[in-house]
């Protein structure tokens, strides 16, 4: 439990997230913040990636460099794809920290990273802060960070000091991605990771499916109503959901019509959801429905009726045939199928194990 007093190196370690095909936005946001800090006090920005062999190509690493990474360490293992599990990278992370302890670790504030990193760094006595909005060094070289509190109703400013490593988990989407500099490059080191889950053994994997994704938990929801025209509309909507990594929801009318089961209903007599993105297709926005989704962060609505109530809560309202727009979106998003295919293939490989 104690920290053995290893030397803390003047580095910022960024844990990069590539689980959704490309680098997640928050990875680039982290790099931006890391670079800002590093420039101020002369630290080095190192990036650590856990990926299946071959999943991180050199051009991917270059992109990290363009956003400020000075060293890229790729740890490869079959088990790091198609889905990364917190407990499966902690051993690798610990063995890396044993050798070189960074001053600061930056990672996305998502369940995948917070719980995995916290478990890994606890024995070193690290100070961890999750759900952070911003981070900087103050005049005394203490770390000053602003955190979301109570469902983002309040911001709390904390300071970290002392000799232990600091871990800051940044809330996705708050920092913004800066302009890349393609001229920059960074050495890429590839290592063979060791996955060691002590006392926990995986028995079975269950790949995701939009119609099984928990609506309440989902970060993104695509929902359909009467305007999408029938069960076939929901089949297409499910496809779109898959492409956007979203869960499928529905209005009461669609459930009434038997197009989709009750468990997918959003509204007064259904589920209450608070996703970051809510996309309503062919939903007019009866108060019944609005009740269940008004706390969504960003609402997009597509409806034929210009006067539909849903537009009053939508940040972006599109007047048009919902079904046609869904089809068009699926077509436009499909080309980036390559990565999807790889994931599906890996999933298949995994389920064969």
């Amino acid at each position: 439990m104690s920290f053995d007093g290893a030397i803390v190196e003047p580095t910022v370690l960024v844990l990069a997230d590539k689980s959704a095909g490309d680098w997640s936005t928050v990875t680039l946001e982290l790099l931006g913040d890391a670079e800002l800090l590093a420039n101020k006090v002369g630290w080095t920005v190192k990036v650590m990636v856990f990926a299946a062999p071959g999943a991180v190509r050199d051009e991917d690493a270059r992109k990290l460099a363009a956003h400020g990474a000075k060293e890229v360490h790729v740890w490869e293992h079959e088990k790091f794809g198609p889905v990364l599990v917190p407990a499966q990278y902690t051993h690798t992370l610990r063995s890396y920290l044993d050798e070189s302890m960074p001053r600061l670790i930056l990672c996305p504030s998502t369940p995948l990273w917070v719980e995995g990193v916290a478990a890994a760094v606890a024995p070193y006595g690290a100070l961890v802060a999750s759900d952070c909005v911003s981070v900087k060094l103050n005049v005394r070289s203490d770390l000053e960070l602003v955190r979301n509190y109570w469902n983002q109703k309040t911001h709390a400013t904390w300071t970290f000091s002392g000799q232990r490593p600091w871990v800051v988990c940044l809330h996705p989407g708050v920092a913004g991605v800066g302009r890349p500099n393609p001229a920059l490059s960074a050495p890429v080191e590839r290592h063979q990771a060791i996955v060691l889950e002590e006392n926990v053994e995986t028995l079975e994997w269950f790949p995701p499916h939009p119609s099984r994704l928990d609506l309440v938990e989902a970060e993104r929801v695509v929902a359909g109503g009467r305007g999408i025209g029938g069960p076939e509309g929901f089949a297409e909507l499910t496809q779109l959901a898959e492409l956007l990594h979203a869960a499928v929801g529905a209005s009461r009318v669609a459930v009434d019509l038997g197009w989709i089961p009750y468990s997918r209903q959003v509204g007064q007599t259904g589920k209450t959801v608070r996703p970051r993105l809510y996309m309503a297709f062919g939903i007019s926005g009866a108060s019944q429905h609005l009740d269940g989704m008004r706390d969504a962060e960003t609402v997009v609505a597509v409806n034929l009726d210009k006067e539909a109530a849903i537009f009053s809560v939508a940040e972006l309202g599109l007047v048009g045939d919902a079904r046609a727009v869904i089809e068009e979106l699926v077509r436009l998003l499909k080309p980036s199928e390559r990565a999807e295919g790889a994931r599906a293939g890996a999933a298949a490989a995994l389920s064969n194990v």
């Binding site: 009318v253 007599t269 009866a286 108060s287």
Partner: protein, 683 residues
Amino acid sequence: MALRIVLALFTLVLAITMLGLLIVRMRPILRAMASARQVVRWDQPLYRIRSTAAQVFGHKRLLRQRLSGILHLFIFSGFVVLLLDIIETIGQLVYPEFSIGPVLGFLVDCFVLLVLAGVVLALYQRKVLHPKRFEGSDEKDGELILGMITLIVVGIAIHNSFFRLLEHPVFGMTTSADGHFLSYLLDPLWVRLGWGTPMAASIGYSVGYALDIGTILWFLAYLPTSKHLHVFFGAPAVFFRKLGTPGRFLPTATEVHSSGDSGISATRDMTVQPIQSFADMTWRDVLDLFTCTECGRCQDVCPAHQAGQPLSPKMLILDLRDALVQQTRGVESSVVRSLSLAGDVISAETLWSCTTCGACQEACPVFIEHVPKIVGLRAALVERGEVEERPQEVLEHWGEERNAYGKMPETRPAWRNRVTYHFKDLRRESAEWLWFVGDVASFDNDLGVARSVDAIATLLGGAGLDVGLLYDWEGSSGNDVLRMGEYGLFEQLATENMRAMERAQFERVLTSDPHSFNALRNDYPQLGFKKPIYHYSQVLQQLMTEGKVAPTHSLGIRATFHDPCYLGRWNQVFEAPRDILRRCGVDIVEMPRSFANSFCCGAGGGRMWMNEAGMKERPSEARIREALELPGVTHFVVSCPKDMVMYSAAVTALGCQDRLSVVDVGELVLESTGWQFARTSAS
């Protein structure tokens, strides 16, 4: 002589056996009642007697269904006449010259025919019309009883007619005019058949006697396991019914304390208990189970049943009765013992289907109280924690924020920013009236609800009424909470509201929400609340009478009015809203189901926030269809914010917004006054 002795012995033996059986079979039922919880129902004895007579002899409720009512009246009157026949028949056995006289004798025969007509009608109803309400009833039992009744009255005719043939030859009497006119018709038949001899007539008399008296005794012994136990229990059930406003759920002080030591403490503890087992039921509840006649009138009017949900009030009573019978028979294997009433005997889905609209109780000819049982069983589920996800969320909101919507209590009066009328702040100043706004009117974002609240506010302001609000001191009245079976939470909400109302200075309460109206009018007084409470339609009616709200032009529309369950059926307020509509020049066309028979919108008892999966048709949509049938009706008038929410959604779902608009009484009154609804510049 020998004949009389044989018959007397037969009667004696049969009577002892059958009456013995009757006692043996009745005892467990009576014992179950004795071990049940007490509730005192002796208040207003004279009124009870009067109304029982009207129900029993006048068939007041039964006659609401014409055919069934009439045929039951026929058969029932036969039972009364039966007594005369028994007296005569047994009397003749002892002393052959005994007679009830020609007039009564004539009456007996008239009723023999009436009963037979009743039986024929009953069979016609059961076999030909076959109403849906009999689904699930024990029809064999019904038919067996009809058969018994036929045997009895046929027996009467037979033994009376043979008696005349025996009078002279066997009993040595002179033939008297006993008034049994059927005998005059039958005797020639017997004689022609060659059964006029003393020997044959003796046999015929004995057969008739056995059919009559024998079947009656058999009937008595059979009763305890039959729906016909209502012969015994019907009248007591009517007599010991809950008096006063039907909407009261909590027992009154007199119901709880027989000695009348009530009213000592300002607030009493709530005396309702969840129904975990039969011991938690009141004796009245147990009586209900055995009084049920399986007529199915409750099932016929139940909105949940019509929507295709698993609830049938009739089957609920019968399932409970069967479970109790099993227990009393000692079939208490460990399996039976481990079954819980709420959940196993009656499924949770069934219990949560109920909208607590009370249509079943209103329809029941023997005044069975279904809703308190359902609520009591729900309470057992609640105490065990078995509440669906969505209603659970709502219960928690009630507990934490004192409103169903999970909004900050401070935002409760936010709606008043929309209107210019300045409501007094009863937390600081005094006013004549308190407007208890209720959850739905305060928080729901339905546009119709906002319109109606604004209209009422404008009317009250325009009439110069001295009205104040409790602001964030107001919490949900808990009417639905109580009926969801969360007794503790109701107590908490009611106590807090009553404390706030004690601190505030006002004389009377008006509310725009029938559910709050019901709780404040009927249940709060049981906890010590004393102020008078009015529905806003009653207040508007008064203001119009006083001329403070004066319609300046006739609206000239055809509309139908929907009676909210908690205003109409539960609180008997039917006229006020209709009266003010008429004064505004509204031509009211009644729906087939109106007044006390109004059909629920489906939102009550917490249903507003529950899973609707598995519904064939929402009650609200069925109701809108009913209104659409009315010729020329363009407006569907409501007087309850929940109705507004439900029916606005139903009209949208049915896509008939162009044909029927859902409006609040207040909106129409405002329109007819020509007053402008003044929005504040702030909004």
